[in-house]
């Protein structure tokens, strides 16, 4: 029916998610894609490119310009047995739909005593460094991770993007799926067939093994941390990089295990610092690994300011140097 790629393909994240959506739609006729401009245009980032052509306007739905409407009608469709995959065009535009997500989507299963299920996915391109105007570069993940009833995941590379979107669609709980827009165009090899060796959706991954200090990150910051690890290796320091992948539930087993070996942890994210995901990771690692820690857990994050104008965003965003600086701090104790 469609030209589904097979074998090992070199894809960027956009193409990988597109292929994942395609595969899910072929596999299950109940899967719907809905959002603003997802049809003919293929979404403003072209993540849904070609899907309407192949699956029709019934399954790839250009919605009215109304986020509460998108999420709210998806709730109804999910209750009716469909599996809607909603696209929110940009991070900063999720808020008109926030009430539906937090009050309705997250609680339906609980309120119904487990009788109702909402198998829906809310895709949100997020994060900065693309030189955009305001509301187009935000990292709102903590709001959602703070809400019980939602699963919150984020991919950092094409392989995960391809598999995680399919896993998210198959899940019977609602998933908020964050896509790192600054990494959208980075390519890597994706095994389109081999299900074996694919991690469960809700698990962290060791992105790079190392021995001297642990760096935990997710989404767009994983690559920054891998770059930092490469630079550190040149200086003879071995960093272990962990890609958290899932923010709710947080899978910290790999982090605990790593910190017990390295004794040092730096947590990195673009979102504001205070009460962010990094705070939770630091608290939990302190609880679990206190006697293994050689230094306090360090955070490298955005500052506690609104996301700044594009011409200063690189100063706001954590970069390789700030990560290395924090690693240095953990060795200073």
């Amino acid at each position: 029916m469609t030209d589904q790629p097979t074998g090992v393909q070199k894809l960027n994240i956009i193409k990988a998610i597109n292929a994942g959506l395609r595969r899910s739609m072929e596999h299950d006729a109940k899967v719907l894609v809905m959002g603003e401009d997802v049809g003919k245009l293929g979404g403003v980032f072209r993540v849904t490119d070609g899907l309407q052509k192949d699956f029709g306007e019934d399954r790839v739905i250009d919605t009215p310009l109304a986020e509460s409407g998108i999420i709210g009608t998806a709730v109804g469709l999910a209750l009716r047995g469909y599996r809607p995959v909603c696209e929110i065009q940009f991070d900063g535009f999720v808020y008109p739909g926030y009430d539906q997500i937090v009050n309705q989507v997250a609680k339906m299963h609980f309120r119904s005593g487990g009788r109702l299920r909402l198998p829906m996915v809310i895709r949100i391109p997020y994060g900065g460094s693309i030189g955009a105007v305001e509301h187009h570069s935000e990292s709102p993940e903590a709001y959602f991770a703070h809400t019980p009833g939602l699963k919150v995941v984020t991919c950092s590379n094409p392989l995960d993007a391809y598999w995680m979107i399919q896993q998210a669609i198959r899940l019977d709980d609602p998933v908020v799926f964050f896509e790192p827009k600054r990494r959208y165009y980075e390519k890597a090899e994706v095994d389109m067939d081999a299900r074996d060796g694919i991690l469960p959706l809700e698990s962290a991954r060791v992105a790079l093994p190392g021995t001297d200090a642990t760096v935990a990150a997710y989404g767009p910051m994983v690559k920054t941390c891998l770059d930092a690890a490469a630079a550190a290796a040149d200086d003879g320091r071995s960093l272990e990089v962990i890609d958290l992948r899932t923010l709710s539930p947080l899978d910290l087993r790999a982090v605990y295990d790593s910190v017990r070996r390295t004794g040092r942890l730096v947590v990195v994210h673009e979102a504001q610092r205070t009460l962010g995901v990094g705070a939770e990771v630091a608290a939990r690692v302190t609880e679990e690994c206190f006697y293994s820690l050689e230094a306090p857990v360090q955070r490298v994050t955005g500052y506690d300011t609104p996301y700044p104008p594009a011409r200063v965003e690189e100063e706001y965003l954590p970069d390789l140097d700030r990560v290395l600086d924090a690693v240095d701090r953990t060795f200073a104790f």
């Binding site: 403003v44 306007e57 009215p64 409407g69 500052y303 300011t305 011409r311 100063e315």
Partner: protein, 379 residues
């Protein structure tokens, strides 16, 4: 089942207020003629200048974006008459709540176009002073400003600044938004608020037919101006490419508001000639024929034809405006390139009225961090 488009269900072309045909012929209108009876040749020439300079600001900004000087630009091409006509209906004490495309309205309100460029360059997020021009900040979250406009109008009402009969005192608010925005909850809530409070606000919808890639049929099955009836206030559809008609219709709506008669929905029926923004590719979703059709309705050409026909201007006038536009463009290019980047620590300014201890500490740590590079270089 297929999700059918509304094309088949579209009712016959509804009433459209038009005072100038696309060929520049003056269409008499019993009701609206009176609303522009005071307009002189000078006024028409002034509006022509607004249209041309507004278009030039826009064209220059698109060029600057292509040269990498702006991160993004949302072009107003095709919508000049809707913006100039409505803006010239405003009095000094009236307030404007725009979206992100109202560059010609900003121009008419005296906002320095360089400040618009600064926003799209990523230097700041709106550096003009709304208190100076009564032109509020651009709003990117679709529809949000319609509620702000309504609330502001409720404030004017409370302050007793309507219905006094004093033309220098009675004030109104105008909220700009697009056809896509009419689907947002906020816009519908603004309609309800304005209606039940009888707030002095004019909802000015520039129906440019497209919300990025989605045609009007994705947002509505009834002509937008008719929505107003359901909320309990008048709605009117005006030819958005006819500056005189936009002026007349908006004048009437604003006056109703100032007189204490409540809100009006104006639907300016127009067309977005360019891309949605400089990152958009309209060839993916719309046909060239549509564009060609609307080219014939160009808002500037029709005023020009009207002026030539009525001997309202000679070639020297048109050349003069052209020269002024060229001069403005040269100024914008230089001024845009000269805009300094903000200093890194400026991101900590104005997060709160008084900085918090946490932010002071974060600013210090950024400064120390940045200074560490300077030291390294020095070493």
């Amino acid at each position: 089942m297929t999700v059918e488009t509304a094309a088949g269900a579209t009712p016959p072309e509804p009433e459209l207020v038009q005072l100038l045909t696309p060929e520049g012929l003056r269409v008499p209108n019993e009701h609206y003629d009176a609303l522009i009876a005071d307009i002189t040749g000078d006024d028409v020439r002034a509006m022509y200048r607004d249209l041309v300079l507004g278009r030039r600001v826009d064209g220059e900004a698109v060029a600057l974006q292509r040269q990498g000087e702006l991160g993004l630009w949302a072009s107003l091409l095709g919508q000049e008459a809707a913006q100039v006509g409505s803006a010239r209906a405003l009095r000094a004490q009236d307030h404007v709540f725009p979206t992100y495309r109202e560059h010609a309205v900003a121009f008419c309100r005296g906002v320095d176009p360089v400040k618009l460029l600064a926003l799209f360059r990523g230097v700041d997020q709106g550096s003009w002073d709304a208190a100076e021009t009564n032109f509020h900040l651009y709003t990117i979250v679709i529809g949000a400003q319609t509620l702000h406009a309504t609330g502001y109008a409720m404030g004017i009402q409370r302050d007793g600044a309507i219905g006094t009969g004093d033309p220098d005192r009675d004030a109104a608010v105008i909220a700009y938004f697009g056809d896509g925005a009419t689907s947002q909850g906020d816009v519908n809530e603004a309609f309800i608020w304005a209606s039940v409070t009888n707030a002095p606000v004019v909802f000015f919808c520039q129906n440019n037919q497209w919300a990025i890639s989605e045609p009007l049929e994705r947002q509505t099955r009834v002509p937008l101006y008719r929505r107003a009836a359901g909320f309990g206030f008048p709605g009117v559809r005006v030819d958005g490419n006819d500056v005189l008609a936009c002026l007349a219709v908006t004048r009437e709506a604003l006056q109703r508001a100032r007189d204490g008669e409540g809100p009006t929905l104006v639907e300016a029926f127009t067309y977005r000639m360019g891309a949605h923004t400089t990152t958009d590719d309209p060839t993916r979703y719309r046909l060239n024929a549509e564009l060609e059709h609307w080219k014939l309705k160009d808002p500037i050409e029709r005023v020009k034809a009207f002026m030539v026909r009525g001997d309202l201007a000679d070639q020297a006038f048109f050349d003069g405006v052209e020269a002024e536009a060229e001069e403005l463009a040269v100024h914008l290019r230089a001024a845009c390139r000269a805009l300094p980047d903000p200093t890194p620590t400026s991101i900590f300014d104005h997060v709160y009225v008084e900085p918090t201890p946490d932010l002071v500490a974060q600013r210090e740590s950024m400064t120390t961090y940045l200074d560490s590079f300077a030291e390294e270089v020095a070493r």
